[in-house]
Protein backbone atom coordinates (compact mmCIF):
# COMPACT_ATOMS: atom_id res chain seq x y z
CA UNK A 1 0.00 0.00 0.00
CA UNK A 2 1.44 3.39 -0.99
CA UNK A 3 1.84 6.36 1.32
CA UNK A 4 -1.07 8.34 -0.14
CA UNK A 5 -3.44 5.40 0.19
CA UNK A 6 -2.36 4.80 3.78
CA UNK A 7 -2.92 8.45 4.68
CA UNK A 8 -6.41 8.30 3.10
CA UNK A 9 -7.30 5.31 5.26
CA UNK A 10 -5.94 7.09 8.33
CA UNK A 11 -8.09 10.09 7.46
CA UNK A 12 -11.21 7.87 7.18
CA UNK A 13 -10.36 6.28 10.54
CA UNK A 14 -9.96 9.65 12.23
CA UNK A 15 -13.30 10.87 10.83
CA UNK A 16 -14.95 7.71 12.16
CA UNK A 17 -13.31 8.14 15.54
CA UNK A 18 -14.67 11.66 15.86
CA UNK A 19 -18.10 10.97 14.31
CA UNK A 20 -19.14 7.68 15.85
CA UNK A 21 -19.75 8.49 19.49
CA UNK A 22 -21.71 6.23 21.88
CA UNK A 23 -25.36 7.23 22.29
CA UNK A 24 -26.76 7.02 25.81
CA UNK A 25 -30.28 5.70 26.38
CA UNK A 26 -32.86 7.87 28.16
CA UNK A 27 -32.57 7.47 31.97
CA UNK A 28 -36.36 6.91 32.23
CA UNK A 29 -36.08 4.05 29.75
CA UNK A 30 -33.15 2.47 31.61
CA UNK A 31 -34.94 2.76 34.95
CA UNK A 32 -38.25 1.49 33.59
CA UNK A 33 -36.70 -1.54 31.92
CA UNK A 34 -34.69 -2.30 35.05
CA UNK A 35 -37.92 -2.42 37.04
CA UNK A 36 -39.64 -4.62 34.48
CA UNK A 37 -36.70 -7.04 34.47
CA UNK A 38 -36.15 -7.31 38.19
CA UNK A 39 -39.62 -6.82 39.68
CA UNK A 40 -41.19 -10.26 40.15
CA UNK A 41 -44.62 -8.61 40.49
CA UNK A 42 -44.48 -6.84 37.14
CA UNK A 43 -47.31 -7.97 34.89
CA UNK A 44 -46.37 -10.34 32.08
CA UNK A 45 -48.51 -11.94 29.39
CA UNK A 46 -48.15 -15.70 29.26
CA UNK A 47 -49.80 -17.85 26.63
CA UNK A 48 -50.86 -20.83 28.66
CA UNK A 49 -52.10 -24.08 27.14
CA UNK A 50 -55.63 -23.28 28.34
CA UNK A 51 -55.47 -19.88 26.61
CA UNK A 52 -54.22 -21.48 23.38
CA UNK A 53 -57.04 -24.09 23.36
CA UNK A 54 -59.62 -21.36 23.95
CA UNK A 55 -58.12 -19.38 21.09
CA UNK A 56 -58.28 -22.40 18.75
CA UNK A 57 -61.94 -23.02 19.75
CA UNK A 58 -62.71 -19.37 19.04
CA UNK A 59 -61.18 -19.63 15.56
CA UNK A 60 -63.14 -22.85 14.80
CA UNK A 61 -66.39 -21.23 15.99
CA UNK A 62 -65.67 -18.15 13.84
CA UNK A 63 -65.02 -20.25 10.73
CA UNK A 64 -68.15 -22.42 11.28
CA UNK A 65 -70.43 -19.43 11.87
CA UNK A 66 -68.94 -17.79 8.77
CA UNK A 67 -69.79 -20.87 6.68
CA UNK A 68 -73.37 -20.99 8.07
CA UNK A 69 -73.80 -17.29 7.30
CA UNK A 70 -72.55 -17.66 3.71
CA UNK A 71 -74.82 -20.73 3.12
CA UNK A 72 -77.91 -18.95 4.50
CA UNK A 73 -77.18 -15.80 2.51
CA UNK A 74 -76.69 -17.74 -0.72
CA UNK A 75 -79.94 -19.70 -0.15
CA UNK A 76 -81.83 -16.44 0.36
CA UNK A 77 -80.34 -14.96 -2.81
CA UNK A 78 -81.16 -18.11 -4.85
CA UNK A 79 -84.77 -18.19 -3.60
CA UNK A 80 -85.16 -14.48 -4.41
CA UNK A 81 -83.88 -15.06 -7.95
CA UNK A 82 -86.30 -18.02 -8.40
CA UNK A 83 -89.26 -15.98 -7.19
CA UNK A 84 -88.27 -13.14 -9.51
CA UNK A 85 -88.12 -15.53 -12.50
CA UNK A 86 -91.48 -17.14 -11.62
CA UNK A 87 -93.24 -13.78 -11.37
CA UNK A 88 -91.65 -12.71 -14.67
CA UNK A 89 -92.98 -15.75 -16.62
CA UNK A 90 -96.48 -15.57 -15.13
Amino acid sequence: MDKASSSELNAIESVMLSSLQPVDPRPEFVEGLHQRLTDPMSPTVRFTRQYSSQFILLIIATVLSGIVFILTASRVIISLIREFRLTKFK
Binding site: M16, S19, L20, Q21, V23, P25, F29, H34, L37, T38
Partner: protein
Protein backbone atom coordinates in the same frame (compact mmCIF):
# COMPACT_ATOMS: atom_id res chain seq x y z
CA UNK B 1 -26.20 -10.24 55.49
CA UNK B 2 -25.95 -7.28 53.12
CA UNK B 3 -24.40 -8.23 49.80
CA UNK B 4 -22.57 -5.62 47.72
CA UNK B 5 -24.22 -6.56 44.45
CA UNK B 6 -22.56 -3.99 42.15
CA UNK B 7 -19.13 -5.46 42.93
CA UNK B 8 -20.05 -8.90 41.62
CA UNK B 9 -18.02 -10.20 38.70
CA UNK B 10 -19.88 -11.16 35.54
CA UNK B 11 -19.32 -14.87 36.20
CA UNK B 12 -20.74 -14.80 39.74
CA UNK B 13 -23.61 -12.53 38.75
CA UNK B 14 -24.42 -14.90 35.88
CA UNK B 15 -24.43 -17.92 38.21
CA UNK B 16 -26.73 -16.14 40.64
CA UNK B 17 -28.98 -14.92 37.83
CA UNK B 18 -29.19 -18.47 36.47
CA UNK B 19 -30.46 -19.55 39.90
CA UNK B 20 -33.24 -16.96 39.68
CA UNK B 21 -31.56 -14.05 41.46
CA UNK B 22 -33.16 -11.08 39.71
CA UNK B 23 -31.02 -8.58 41.59
CA UNK B 24 -27.90 -10.19 40.11
CA UNK B 25 -29.44 -10.00 36.65
CA UNK B 26 -30.15 -6.33 37.36
CA UNK B 27 -26.43 -5.78 37.98
CA UNK B 28 -25.57 -7.30 34.61
CA UNK B 29 -28.28 -5.23 32.99
CA UNK B 30 -26.93 -1.98 34.42
CA UNK B 31 -23.43 -2.93 33.33
CA UNK B 32 -24.34 -3.54 29.69
CA UNK B 33 -27.54 -1.66 28.86
CA UNK B 34 -25.81 1.48 27.51
CA UNK B 35 -23.47 -0.48 25.26
CA UNK B 36 -26.23 -2.67 23.85
CA UNK B 37 -28.51 0.35 23.35
CA UNK B 38 -25.77 2.31 21.57
CA UNK B 39 -24.99 -0.63 19.28
CA UNK B 40 -28.67 -1.11 18.37
CA UNK B 41 -29.18 2.63 17.94
CA UNK B 42 -26.50 2.80 15.25
CA UNK B 43 -27.88 -0.31 13.53
CA UNK B 44 -31.54 0.82 13.49
CA UNK B 45 -31.11 4.58 13.33
CA UNK B 46 -33.92 5.58 15.65
CA UNK B 47 -34.53 5.83 19.37
CA UNK B 48 -37.92 4.12 19.41
CA UNK B 49 -36.76 0.88 17.79
CA UNK B 50 -33.46 0.99 19.69
CA UNK B 51 -35.39 1.04 22.99
CA UNK B 52 -37.77 -1.69 21.87
CA UNK B 53 -34.98 -3.99 20.68
CA UNK B 54 -32.80 -3.28 23.75
CA UNK B 55 -35.71 -4.38 25.96
CA UNK B 56 -36.11 -7.54 23.87
CA UNK B 57 -32.39 -8.34 24.16
CA UNK B 58 -32.51 -8.27 27.95
CA UNK B 59 -35.81 -10.14 28.20
CA UNK B 60 -34.41 -12.83 25.92
CA UNK B 61 -31.21 -12.95 27.99
CA UNK B 62 -33.29 -13.23 31.19
CA UNK B 63 -35.34 -16.07 29.69
CA UNK B 64 -32.26 -18.03 28.61
CA UNK B 65 -29.81 -17.14 31.38
CA UNK B 66 -30.36 -20.46 33.15
CA UNK B 67 -29.29 -22.30 29.98
CA UNK B 68 -26.25 -20.06 29.40
CA UNK B 69 -23.13 -22.14 28.88
CA UNK B 70 -19.75 -20.59 29.56
CA UNK B 71 -17.71 -21.29 26.43
CA UNK B 72 -14.95 -18.90 27.39
CA UNK B 73 -16.69 -15.95 25.75
CA UNK B 74 -17.44 -12.79 27.69
CA UNK B 75 -21.07 -12.09 28.54
CA UNK B 76 -20.97 -9.00 26.33
CA UNK B 77 -20.32 -11.20 23.26
CA UNK B 78 -23.47 -13.20 24.07
CA UNK B 79 -25.54 -10.02 24.46
CA UNK B 80 -24.15 -8.49 21.24
CA UNK B 81 -25.03 -11.70 19.38
CA UNK B 82 -28.61 -11.59 20.68
CA UNK B 83 -28.75 -7.92 19.66
CA UNK B 84 -27.32 -8.68 16.21
CA UNK B 85 -29.90 -11.44 15.60
CA UNK B 86 -32.79 -9.24 16.73
CA UNK B 87 -31.58 -6.35 14.55
CA UNK B 88 -31.31 -8.74 11.57
CA UNK B 89 -34.92 -9.89 12.17
CA UNK B 90 -35.98 -6.26 12.54
CA UNK B 91 -34.38 -5.32 9.20
CA UNK B 92 -36.06 -8.31 7.54
CA UNK B 93 -39.49 -7.47 8.99
CA UNK B 94 -39.18 -3.79 8.12
CA UNK B 95 -37.67 -4.15 4.67
CA UNK B 96 -40.86 -2.95 3.02
CA UNK B 97 -41.51 -0.16 5.47
CA UNK B 98 -39.96 3.21 4.74
CA UNK B 99 -37.23 3.89 7.25
CA UNK B 100 -35.82 7.22 8.27
CA UNK B 101 -32.16 7.22 7.18
CA UNK B 102 -29.62 6.70 9.95
CA UNK B 103 -27.57 9.74 8.96
CA UNK B 104 -30.56 12.10 9.21
CA UNK B 105 -31.42 11.01 12.72
CA UNK B 106 -27.93 10.96 14.13
CA UNK B 107 -27.15 14.34 12.64
CA UNK B 108 -30.26 15.84 14.20
CA UNK B 109 -28.89 14.95 17.62
CA UNK B 110 -25.47 16.48 17.07
CA UNK B 111 -26.03 19.26 14.60
CA UNK B 112 -26.43 22.06 17.14
CA UNK B 113 -22.83 23.11 17.71
CA UNK B 114 -20.94 21.86 14.65
CA UNK B 115 -19.70 23.80 11.61
CA UNK B 116 -21.39 22.95 8.31
CA UNK B 117 -18.28 21.40 6.71
CA UNK B 118 -17.92 18.93 9.58
CA UNK B 119 -21.62 18.09 9.42
CA UNK B 120 -21.41 17.35 5.69
CA UNK B 121 -18.37 15.16 6.25
CA UNK B 122 -20.21 13.27 9.00
CA UNK B 123 -23.31 12.97 6.88
CA UNK B 124 -21.31 11.48 4.00
CA UNK B 125 -19.54 9.06 6.29
CA UNK B 126 -22.73 7.83 7.97
CA UNK B 127 -24.34 7.50 4.57
CA UNK B 128 -21.60 5.20 3.27
CA UNK B 129 -21.50 3.20 6.51
CA UNK B 130 -25.25 2.65 6.28
CA UNK B 131 -24.80 1.22 2.78
CA UNK B 132 -22.32 -1.42 3.95
CA UNK B 133 -23.38 -5.09 4.36
CA UNK B 134 -24.65 -5.89 7.91
CA UNK B 135 -21.48 -7.69 9.07
CA UNK B 136 -19.31 -4.72 8.05
CA UNK B 137 -21.65 -2.26 9.76
CA UNK B 138 -21.44 -4.44 12.86
CA UNK B 139 -17.64 -4.42 12.71
CA UNK B 140 -17.42 -0.63 12.33
CA UNK B 141 -19.87 0.02 15.18
CA UNK B 142 -18.16 -2.44 17.53
CA UNK B 143 -14.77 -0.92 16.73
CA UNK B 144 -15.53 2.79 16.77
CA UNK B 145 -18.59 3.13 18.99
CA UNK B 146 -17.95 0.31 21.45
CA UNK B 147 -14.13 0.50 21.16
CA UNK B 148 -13.69 -3.28 21.12
CA UNK B 149 -10.40 -4.87 20.06
CA UNK B 150 -10.20 -7.11 16.99
CA UNK B 151 -10.08 -10.18 19.26
CA UNK B 152 -13.24 -9.10 21.11
CA UNK B 153 -15.00 -8.32 17.82
CA UNK B 154 -14.00 -11.79 16.64
CA UNK B 155 -15.68 -13.30 19.72
CA UNK B 156 -18.89 -11.42 18.98
CA UNK B 157 -18.89 -12.21 15.26
CA UNK B 158 -17.67 -15.79 15.59
CA UNK B 159 -14.54 -15.11 13.49
CA UNK B 160 -10.81 -15.29 14.14
CA UNK B 161 -8.84 -12.15 14.95
CA UNK B 162 -7.09 -12.41 11.58
CA UNK B 163 -10.41 -12.66 9.74
CA UNK B 164 -11.64 -9.54 11.55
CA UNK B 165 -8.45 -7.65 10.63
CA UNK B 166 -8.84 -8.64 7.01
CA UNK B 167 -12.54 -7.73 6.93
CA UNK B 168 -11.74 -4.40 8.59
CA UNK B 169 -9.12 -3.56 5.99
CA UNK B 170 -11.49 -4.41 3.12
CA UNK B 171 -14.21 -2.35 4.80
CA UNK B 172 -11.88 0.64 5.12
CA UNK B 173 -10.95 0.44 1.44
CA UNK B 174 -14.59 0.23 0.44
CA UNK B 175 -15.48 3.15 2.74
CA UNK B 176 -12.66 5.24 1.26
CA UNK B 177 -13.81 4.56 -2.31
CA UNK B 178 -17.46 5.33 -1.54
CA UNK B 179 -16.54 8.36 0.54
CA UNK B 180 -14.42 9.91 -2.21
CA UNK B 181 -17.05 9.10 -4.84
CA UNK B 182 -19.51 11.14 -2.80
CA UNK B 183 -17.00 13.96 -2.38
CA UNK B 184 -16.25 14.00 -6.14
CA UNK B 185 -19.93 13.94 -7.11
CA UNK B 186 -20.57 16.73 -4.56
CA UNK B 187 -17.79 18.92 -6.01
CA UNK B 188 -19.01 18.27 -9.59
CA UNK B 189 -22.51 19.39 -8.60
CA UNK B 190 -20.97 22.51 -7.09
CA UNK B 191 -19.07 23.29 -10.30
CA UNK B 192 -22.19 22.77 -12.41
CA UNK B 193 -24.11 25.15 -10.21
CA UNK B 194 -21.32 27.76 -10.47
Amino acid sequence: MVRKVPELSDEIALKLAAQGDQEAFGVLYERYVSRIYSYIYYRTGNQHDAEDLTARVFFRALRHVENYKDRGLPLSAWLYRIAHNLVANWHRDNSRRKEIPLDEIILVRHSGDLPEAVLIEKENLLHVIHRLPPDRQQLIILKFVEHLSNAEIGQVMGRSEGAVKSLYHRTLLSLRDDFYLILISGSNEGEELA
